[in-house]
């Protein structure tokens, strides 16, 4: 991992062009796969839609019904497609955030869910729900605030005299996670009974409440966040050598740190506000990206973004079809797939 990073550091101009080309090719292939997944997964659901007509309607971007009934058309474009797009935004956001934390903190286990950052965003969203229930726009803002506060708390706790060792960071994450979990339990107890059930479902990660207002916000933040971190990928590569070396090589360490913290908090905040805490995406996907494409962040960050989107789309399709017409929370599926996959990755490395 480190060797590839130092190779990237020492790259001459020609290498840079090679990297750029590799990035573009990888992203193009993955984007094509993502598009294919969006189309294929829109054909699956608790209701059976005619395949041909659906494909035709999708190809026309919803301008033609292609013989679908009004209900079928609404199911495809009002319910299924927005949910799939939200799944893509959430997956992309979480995987990008995970890749960013892992590069910045030089810790392969750094992940929004494990570090308690998702829980910070969840507490923020809960506060927005309890105190400003009607004002939907407060949710992503407070979720972002919560995520940023949790990030800073974990970062402060992790920095000991000997610097932030990986173990210390994870322990700090565990402490923040458990503390915020108790805050969540405390708020749920105070909440009235009618809302508890929908809340527990949301906490586990649920995409069924796709809100028309939050969807464009989530997509915009996902794309902008992935771009922002990719643009800082070279600095992140250098940071993998250690903060001091990176500083000596001309990286503005403080600025990069602030950029990653703010961008990742925005990404986690918007996805938690939209769908609750979907776990393991930020852990497994960046790992897979690095394992298959090398640890150059210029490639692995955009690849993780696209891969995360792909992963959550598939996981959510399982969640909404496997016991149809009933549904499972998508977080349960990502954890079911993610935890064993992670153990496998750990044993392989």
């Amino acid at each position: 991992m480190i060797t590839t990073a130092s190779e990237a550091v020492a790259s001459p101009a020609r290498r840079k062009r090679v990297t750029l080309r590799k990035t573009i090719v990888t992203c193009a292939v993955m984007a094509a796969a993502l598009l294919l997944a969006i189309v294929l997964m829109s054909l699956l659901g608790s209701e059976q839609l005619p395949v041909r007509a659906s494909l035709c309607a999708l190809a026309s971007f919803g301008t033609s019904t292609c013989g679908l009934t009004q209900d079928q058309f609404d199911i495809l474009f009002q319910i299924r497609l927005p949910r799939i797009l939200l799944a893509a935004a959430v997956g992309g956001s979480l995987a990008t955030a995970g890749a960013g934390y892992q590069a910045l903190l030089r810790n392969p286990l750094a992940e929004p869910y494990l570090l308690g950052i998702s829980n910070g965003a969840a507490v923020g969203t809960m506060i927005a729900l309890v105190f400003f229930g009607a004002m939907e726009w407060t949710r992503p803002i407070l979720a972002f605030t919560g995520a940023l506060a949790a990030t800073l708390a974990v970062y402060r706790l992790a920095r000991g005299r000997a610097g932030a060792t990986p173990e210390r960071l994870i322990l700090a994450g565990v402490i923040v996670t458990t503390f915020l979990s108790s805050v969540i339990v405390f708020v749920t107890v105070l909440m009235d009974a009618t809302r508890i059930r929908s809340f527990t479902f949301w906490l586990l990660g649920d995409l069924s409440g796709t809100s028309k207002a939050l969807l464009p916000v989530a997509i915009t933040i996902a794309i902008a966040g992935a771009l922002a971190l990719t643009l800082n990928a070279r600095s992140l590569n250098l940071l993998m050598l250690g903060e001091r070396d990176a500083f000596d090589l001309g990286v503005e360490v403080g600025r990069v740190r602030i950029v990653v913290f703010v961008v990742a908090s925005l990404l986690v905040g918007s996805s938690v506000a939209a769908s609750g805490s979907v776990g393991y995406v930020g852990l497994v996907i960046p790992h897979l990206a690095r394992l298959s494409l090398g640890s150059d962040n210029r490639i692995s960050i955009p690849a993780a973004a696209l891969g995360g989107a792909l992963f959550v789309i598939v996981a959510d399709t399982v969640a909404r079809t496997v016991i149809a017409p009933r549904e499972l929370p998508v977080g349960a599926i990502t954890a079911l797939i993610g935890a064993p996959l992670f153990i496998y990755l750990l044993r392989r490395v």
């Binding site: 659901g45 609404d74 107890v189 009974a193 409440g209 028309k212 909404r320 149809a324 009933r326």
Partner: protein
């Protein structure tokens, strides 16, 4: 060496002394406790009756019950309706009806009642609804010699059974019988009024985001059938399933019932986004019904039945 063996001997001799004294005290305490337990036990079991509850358990109920704790709002309503409100010594924070119930001591909410407070109230019977999921809790109460009676009605008949049995537990069998008879008459009147009507296909929205509805095991499914409706989710397993947005729309409900108001306040007052384009929403057949009349399987369930029938079949009921 000598001193050591000396202290050792003393040690050997002092232990039985302490032990004996301790043992005597322990024995006295045990005896006191045991006699207390047995006296209470005999008082309770003197003419105890066995009643089978909705969880299929045989519950031993003391002959004269004058201290009852209710852990669900519908059970509190039943206790008051059978005229045993004066015997209710504990209730949950959700129990807000009838207004007199608010004077009764609170023991926490349905999900998190305080075991200590319940035991301190010295009830003979604690009434539980399975919604509260209190298995461990139940064992602890039984360990305190407090009977736990579980209700879990899956249809209106089950609600009537709950009323009858709670009446029997508190010694108000006749009043409960009379109440059930009246409720049955009102139910029969509703059923007769909608008998000739084509059942309306209804989606019952428990909550909109995420979408929850009623399933096979919910007593509301039965209530709706009696009110001249047909739940489009009547075959879905479970009592309160999380339901797919697209299946809800694809079911093309002719009417949507929104249980809201009452203790729900303004929650669940709007049709879920997914159902905005349903025939029910487009034709304005969205009916808000007081959640307290529908979600609480008790005497007011028949109010809910009447309201639901009037909403679904307005022409079947003279103004």
């Amino acid at each position: 060496m000598a001193a050591r063996s000396d202290s050792a001997t003393r040690f050997v001799f002092t232990v039985p002394d302490h032990f004996l004294r301790g043992f005597v005290w322990l024995a006295v305490a045990c005896l006191a406790l045991f006699s207390a337990c047995t006296t209470r036990g005999t008082a309770n079991n003197g003419a105890a009756r066995e009643i089978r509850d909705d969880a299929g358990r045989r519950v031993s109920i003391p002959a004269n019950v004058d201290r009852v704790v209710s852990l669900a709002p519908n059970l509190t309503e039943i206790v008051f309706a059978v005229g045993a409100g004066d015997r209710l010594v504990g209730r949950t924070s959700y129990c807000d009806f009838p207004p007199e119930a608010k004077a009764v001591a609170e023991v926490g909410d349905t999900l998190h009642p305080s075991l200590e407070r319940i035991i301190a109230l010295k009830p003979q019977v604690v009434l539980v609804s399975t919604a509260s999921q209190l298995e461990v809790f139940t064992q602890q109460l039984q360990g305190q010699n407090i009977a736990v009676y579980v209700t879990d009605p899956h249809d209106l008949e089950g609600v009537f059974r709950s009323i009858g049995q709670i009446g029997e537990i508190v010694g108000e069998k006749d009043k409960a019988g009379l109440l059930v008879q009246k409720l049955r008459e009102r139910t029969a009147a509703v059923e007769a009024a909608v008998k000739q009507k084509q059942p309306v296909r209804v989606f019952y929205q428990v909550s909109g985001e995420p979408l929850y509805t009623i399933g096979r095991e919910s007593f509301i499914t039965d209530l709706m059938r009696r009110a001249g409706g047909a739940s489009v989710t009547a075959d879905v397993p479970g009592a309160w399933p999380k339901y797919s947005n697209e299946s809800a729309l694809a079911a093309r409900p002719e009417a949507i019932i929104l249980p809201t108001g009452g203790s729900m306040g303004s929650a669940n007052a709007n049709v879920a986004d997914a159902l905005r384009q349903s025939p029910a929403a487009l034709q304005g057949r969205v009916y808000k019904i007081n959640d307290d009349h529908l979600a609480r399987p008790g005497p007011r369930s028949v109010d809910g039945l009447e309201e639901m029938a009037r909403a679904l079949h307005p022409d079947a009921f003279p103004k």
